[in-house]
Symmetry: C3
Amino acid sequence: MITREEIEEVVSKYDKSRITISTICSHSALQIFHGARELAFKTLGITTPDRKFVYEAFPLAKPDLFIEVRKFKDVLTREVQEKLIEENCVIIPHGSFVEYVGAVDIVNKLYVPMFGNRMVLLWESDRSKQREWFREAGLKTPREFKNPSEADCKVFVKYPGAKGGAGYFTADSIEELEEKIRSAIRRGLIKSLEEVSIQEFIPGVRYYFHFFYSLMLNGGFRVGEGGRLELLSMDKRIEPIDEAYRGLPNVPTEFFDYTVTGNQPLILRESLLKDCLDMGARVVLASQRLFPPGIIGPFCLETIYHPSRGFTVFEVSARIVAGTNLYPQSSPYTPYIFNEPMSTGKRIALELKKAMESGRLEEVLY
Amino acid sequence: MITREEIEEVVSKYDKSRITISTICSHSALQIFHGARELAFKTLGITTPDRKFVYEAFPLAKPDLFIEVRKFKDVLTREVQEKLIEENCVIIPHGSFVEYVGAVDIVNKLYVPMFGNRMVLLWESDRSKQREWFREAGLKTPREFKNPSEADCKVFVKYPGAKGGAGYFTADSIEELEEKIRSAIRRGLIKSLEEVSIQEFIPGVRYYFHFFYSLMLNGGFRVGEGGRLELLSMDKRIEPIDEAYRGLPNVPTEFFDYTVTGNQPLILRESLLKDCLDMGARVVLASQRLFPPGIIGPFCLETIYHPSRGFTVFEVSARIVAGTNLYPQSSPYTPYIFNEPMSTGKRIALELKKAMESGRLEEVLY
Amino acid sequence: MITREEIEEVVSKYDKSRITISTICSHSALQIFHGARELAFKTLGITTPDRKFVYEAFPLAKPDLFIEVRKFKDVLTREVQEKLIEENCVIIPHGSFVEYVGAVDIVNKLYVPMFGNRMVLLWESDRSKQREWFREAGLKTPREFKNPSEADCKVFVKYPGAKGGAGYFTADSIEELEEKIRSAIRRGLIKSLEEVSIQEFIPGVRYYFHFFYSLMLNGGFRVGEGGRLELLSMDKRIEPIDEAYRGLPNVPTEFFDYTVTGNQPLILRESLLKDCLDMGARVVLASQRLFPPGIIGPFCLETIYHPSRGFTVFEVSARIVAGTNLYPQSSPYTPYIFNEPMSTGKRIALELKKAMESGRLEEVLY
C-alpha cells in the first residue's frame, strides 16, 4: 500500500504554482475539466483514442493536454505515471476511474497524488466494509439475506463492483429468486451464489444526494474535525426500468434492466433536508472514526425515501458521482451557499485552490 | 377576525427603511430568505431547535435573526408576535406556515402583517369554498361524489387539510372504495365518511403552475384591477406512486402513497400556455369578485392535462408552493420576463421593495 | 419549387443592417424571439388573435412587431409575404411552422428567406425519405412491417405527419393490431392501412438530442464540409402514457396516449456521448451527400437507448424542437461550449449574426 508519506514526498517536488487537474476522459470529466479551467488550473485528460473527439467537441471543457492510452488501466504504467507527475498532476477520482483502474490497484500502485483520501475507495468498493461504515454511522439500510431461502419478502439482487446496475433484478418469491440466480450464473454474470447481494426490496422514491465535505471553507454546517458539510445537489438516475410503464400491459422483459443511462434533476421537500444533512454528517463522522482523517471532498448517498419508513441508504459513492453532471453551473441548492456559479467539479478545484493558498495542499491529497 | 385596518395600524408604526422578511423555517424558507437577501432585506427565521442547523448549512439563505420556538404554532404567542412586530417583520406565508399555524388562527390571531391578502387562506383551506372559487372562475374540476355508492368510475380519494397527500388512495369499484374508507376510519386517518373527498380519477399529465399576481409592475399580461399576471415556473410533484413501476409486476402496496416528497422541473407545450394563462387570469378575476381585493402575490394551480379533456384543475394553493424551490435563480420562463435572476422568493421581495419605493406598502400587506 | 437563387435574389435586396427574425407564435417562438433580442435583432411574430396575449405576457420574449393572421397558413398569402420581405425578415422554421404551413407549400410557395436549408423539410416530413436518410447515415432504426400480419413482436403504430403523437398505439398481437387499425379507420384518424407505420416496439430510455450544425464557428467537433457539430442539450418528452403507473392496477385506457404535452430535462451518461455525437455526425454527413449543402442549424435525433441494443433512432426533426424550451439560458452542456448564456434560439441568432459579420449570410439562408 502506498503511504500518505510517499504521496507527500511526490507532492513536495511539485511546482505548486502549476498544479494540473487530471482525470480519465469519462464519467464526469467534462465537468471536472470545466470547473478546473474556471479557476485557472491547467488540465490533463487521459483518454482512449476513440473518446478524444468527445472532449474536443466541448471546447471549454477540453483538457489542455491529452495523454492517449490504449486502455484506461494503462494509467498505472510507469510511463504514464511519470508523465502525470512531471506535469504536477492531481488526479480527481470518479466512478469510471475507480471502475477501470480498480480500488486496490489505486491504493497499491498509483503514485500520482489524488484529491481526497484514497483509503475511502477501499471502504466504498467492498460491500461488507460499506455495511460496516453504515452501521458505524447508524444509518438504516435494506435487510440482507445470505441465502435465497431466507428471503421472506420481495427482494432486489445486485452484483459486486460498479457495473452500473447491469443484470440486477427483483424477485417476488424464493422460487423466482433461485431461478434467476441460476440464470445469472448460466449467463456468466456471476460465478456463484456467494457473489450476489440479496436485499429487501424497498418501495419509495430514490434520492441521490451530492455532498461535499470541505476542510478549507468556514461557516455553514460544521461536522467533525475542522470541516464543513455542504449539500451541493441531488439527482435521480434513469434506468430502462424507469420507462417500463410504456410497455404496459405486457411489459417486455428488457425493461427490467437497472443499468444507469443518465440522470434527472429533482429537489427534496425542504422539511426532509434535516434528515438528509444528518445522514451526510453521520457518514463523515463514521469515516473519521473508521479511517482517519476520513472522507474529504465529494461523496453521494444513494437513498430511497418512503413516508412510512423514512430514508433507507443503499449505497455510498465516496467520490464525485455522474449525477452532478446535471449542474455544471448551479443546482437548486448551490445559490444558497455560493455567490458564483458552482459545480461539484469547480468545487473540487476551489478546495484545491484554497488549500494551495493557505499552504495546506497536503491535507486534501492522498 | 383581524381587520385590514388593524394590520395597517401595525404597519403604520413600522420603520419602513428596516422592513424584515420573515417566515417559519420549512417548506420554501431557504428560497424566501435568499430572495430577500438578494434585495437587501433583513431576514428573520422562526425555527424549532432541531431545524436551525439546516438554515445554517446554507449561508446565503440563512436568516439574519432566528427566533426559536418549541413548536411552530407558538408564532401566535404574544411574546413571538411582539418580537416580530418590533423587528418590522412582514410574514411570507407558505404551505407549512398555513398547515402548522392554521388558516383560521392566522386570520383571527396573527397581528403581524403578512404579504398578500390573508383572506385568501380561508378560501384555499376550505374545500367547499375552493370549489365555489373554481365555479366562479369557470374552471373544469373533477366530478365529486357525496356518497361512495354514487361513484360510477375510477375515483381518487383525499382528506381535508394540507397533509401533503398522506393516505390518499384510488378505487376501481364501489366495493373497493367502501372498504378503503372503512379502513381509513379504522386506522384513524379520518373520523367519518363525511371527511373524505371522493373525486373522479382524471387520467393525464400533472402540471403545477406557479403564478404571481403583481400590483406593482407594469406591462405584460394585464388582469383585473390594476395588476399583471406572471407565469414564473411549473413543476411536477414526486410521490411514492411515481416509482410504482419499479415494483412491477407485483407492485408493493406501499407504492400507492401520494405523499409529496419532492419536485421535478418540466415545461409545457408552448401552444398550451394560452390555456394555462387563461386559467390563472380566471382565478385572479374570480378572487377579486369573491373576496376583494382578491389574491395578491404567488399562487399555484394544480392541474391534470389530457389531450381529449384539456386541463382539469384539482386544487389552488394561494401562496408560494414548494415546487418553486426548483428555481432559486431562474426557471425556463423567468428569463422571458426578467433581466436578472428571479425566484418566486425574490419576486415576493421585489414586490415589497417596489411597494415601499412607491409608498404603497399597505396595498400588498394584510 | 422556389430555387436557392430566387431566395438569394430576395436577400440581395434586404437591408443587411436591419435583419428581422420572424416566426409564427407557437412551439418555440418565445425562445426564438428572446434569443434574437439578446443579440439585438428586431423580431416579428406572426400570430392568430387568440395567442397574442401569451407573447405579451413575457415582455422579454415579445416580438417587436406582430402580424395578425386568421390562421397560420395565411403566412403564404401575398400580403403577408410582402410585409415580411419589406421588414427584412428571416423566418426560423419550427415544428408548428412546418405543421401548419406544410413542408411542400414552404418549398413551393414561401418566398421569404428561411434560416437553414429548406430542402431538409422535405426529407424530414416524408417517412420513406427519412428512412433513406437514416440508411445512408448507417443508423439503427426500428424494424418496420408493411402488413399487420408480419408483426412478429410487440409493435408501436404511428401515423403520418407531425400530429404530435395523437392516436399512436402499441399492440401485443396481430389480432390486437388489426383491431386497433380498424378502429383508427372507423374513428377517422386515418383513411386506410397504407397510412400507418407499424414499427417494432423498442424497450429502453428515450433521449431526444438537440444538435446544432454550424458553418460559422470554428474549433470543436469538425464534421463534413466546413462545419462543426454542437450538442446543445437533450430532453425527454412528456406524454399521458408517462403517468400511466398512477392508474395501476387498472390503468384507464386514456393513459395510452402519446400526444406530447411538455418536456423534462435530463443528461446522458458521459461515456455514451461518443455514440450520441457519432450519430449526429452521421446524420449531417448523410444530409450533405443526399441534399447538398445538407442540414444547417438545429436538428434533433429522437432515440431510445437500451444497454443491450445501444441507440435506436426513430425520428429526426430537422429544425428547432420544443424540448429546447427547457433551456432558455443554459443547458447542462452549453457551459462547456459557450462563455455566455446560450439557448438554441440564441444560437440561431448568433449563427445569423456571425454570417452577417463575415458577409456570408446567403450560406445560411434558403
